[in-house]
Amino acid sequence: MADAQLAVPGRDAWSTRLRDIGFWAEWAALIGLVVLVVVFQSLNSTFLSTGNVQSMLVAAAILIILAVGQTFVISTAGIDLSVASTMTLGAVVFGQAYTSGWGLPLSAVVAVVSSAVLGVVNGTLIARGKITDFIVTLGTLSAASGLALILSNGKPVTIVDPFLLRLSTGGVGIFGWSFIIAAVVAVLAHVMLFHSRFGTHVLATGGAPESATAMGISTRRIKIAVYTVSGTLAGLGAILLVARVGAAEPAANTAFLLNSVAAVVLGGVSLFGGRGTITGPVIGALLLTALVNGLTLLGVSQFYQPLAVGIVVVLAALMTRFQR
């Protein structure tokens, strides 16, 4: 019996730990962010200056909004590859409407609605057409950027609007308006995911579609809904994008696509669905933004930046292993 004390020190078998990764990964982004902030601040004291924090938050706003939309989709075990081109389409629609003199409010509504419609199309094809999410949204990625090119005739339209300028530059304290909008979106999304029936059904659809169906949840309707949410948020992102770059352009915005998924996954949401958080992806988006900002501040050479980004992303995820 004395042997019990001498036995192998407590180590869980890996199958158990594997199941726990999901849990630890939820906080990967936060730990990564904190470490990053400490490192950058110690190397360059302007990193945490009011001005820089403010511009980081503003820079993160669009990514946060897209990542929130992506979170809903990924929670149902789907993926929205079209999120960036939907945003592009929204921006171009906004630009065309605005330059045709429809006025700011109407243009914004039209932009958001057209992005939402694209989301509905995605969701309908996936749920009713029963095609894999990946292929459908890859298809609409291509189709939406094509539409954006056709609508804009391949040319950017400059949009100078005092309201939009204020939206992109003004704010309350260190919080720019666009960051405030993103924060509100995140809070609403959190409530939706964890405090509404819809949210529970989203997670059930992602976690065990057959069980969800057996309990009478219409997984089709849920699928359509999450893509609509993602599309709508892409439309909102489009308006912030136009405000930020001062133009509606048919650019591809590929970086937003990969980053939105990266933020979500870094935020601890499983690509296999069934588990979601909103704080995670938001922190993930902040992490990715802070990373680029910090590397630029430190004057890391352009060639070394991708290498540094890659290493930091992997480390941020790896770090969590040493948590327990």
Partner: protein
């Protein structure tokens, strides 16, 4: 507006934000900036967007640098307006903005009160036009030509193609325009397909050299070297070699090296309190087999002489 009063007497501290990093054109531009900074004893940092389409990423980089103690900012914006926010911040701090390569949208700059002190520009329409005129000379009898552009909707690509259309005159006809995403392999595939679709094509205009080399390869694969002409834009070293060897018929060299170099000179001049000229044209040269050797010897600098108003101001 912007004043030229930002720099301290000892010399400018320069931050440059340029376009892409996976394209030799912008690396040569960086080389020009670095070389001039070294000879002039100016400290610089050069940042670039992740890709030539990364408008917001570039804006973020400028925003990050805007709050830093630089006296002069050299910017090469991806689009006319994407950097305006950062520029507004810089202008508010009364620091010098030097706009190179692609122009900042004038209206947007005015709204943001961030008009640059100078613009050192490449006229992409002009470059395209030179290519078009050369194409017309090469295939005097006329015929069909095709255009291989960068990413669909890209501004630079669009301007070059527009210029090409203006330059070719009435005898030549553009039968197809294909987007090849600034990628050599994609351009190769696209050109192969176009050659199939139009067996009696007489020439290609390609929006940059990297793709141009891919198109030249496609023509060689089809056994049509010499029969189908290729002209591209940029003037990177490999393209000059190709012009010399005959696989490329001409390239319109734009000398990003000189643009970068003049950008730093402008900063130096402004640091001395000089008023900068509003609009400076960067050199553009047509390189053909005849002058390829000269061009190669001089690269990355222009082989001809060109007008550099900053030289005088810097004295």
């Amino acid at each position: 507006g912007s004043g030229g009063s930002g720099g301290s007497g000892s010399g400018a501290k320069v931050a440059a934000v340029i376009k892409g990093l996976d394209n030799p054109f912008f690396q040569t531009m960086k080389q020009g900036i670095d070389d001039q900074a070294r000879t002039g004893g100016v400290s610089t940092t050069v940042q670039a967007a992740n890709a030539i389409t990364d408008t917001t990423g570039q804006a973020e980089k400028l925003n990050a640098l805007a709050g830093q103690p630089y006296s002069c900012f050299i910017v090469n914006p991806i689009s006319g307006t994407n950097l305006v926010q950062g520029l507004a911040k810089i202008a508010a701090l009364k620091k010098t903005i030097v706009n190179i390569d692609s122009p900042i949208d004038a209206k947007a700059a005015k709204t943001a009160k961030a008009t640059p002190a100078t613009y050192i520009g490449t006229d992409n329409v002009q470059a395209g036009k030179m290519a078009g005129e050369q194409m017309a000379r090469l295939v005097g009898s006329g015929g069909d030509v095709a255009v291989i552009g960068g990413i669909a909707g890209d501004v630079t690509s669009g301007a070059r193609i527009t210029g090409f259309g203006q330059g070719i005159g009435p005898k030549l006809k553009i039968v197809q325009t294909v987007a090849a995403d600034w990628d050599r392999q994609t351009a190769l595939t696209a050109a192969t397909n176009v050659l199939r679709a139009h067996p009696d094509l007489t020439g290609f205009f390609v929006a940059n050299d990297d793709m141009g080399l891919g198109v030249a390869r496609a023509i060689a694969n089809a056994g049509k070297t010499g029969k189908v002409k290729v002209i591209s834009v940029d003037g990177i070293k490999d393209a000059l070699d190709a012009v010399k060897s005959g696989s490329l018929d001409a390239t319109v060299a734009q000398y990003p090296y000189a643009i970068g170099l003049m950008g730093v000179e402008a900063c130096q001049a402004s640091a001395k309190g000089k008023t900068l000229p509003a609009d400076v044209k960067a050199p553009v040269e047509l390189v053909t087999k005849d002058n390829a050797d000269k061009a190669l010897a001089a690269t990355p600098k222009p082989f001809g002489s060109y007008d550099d108003p900053f030289k005088a101001l810097g004295k």
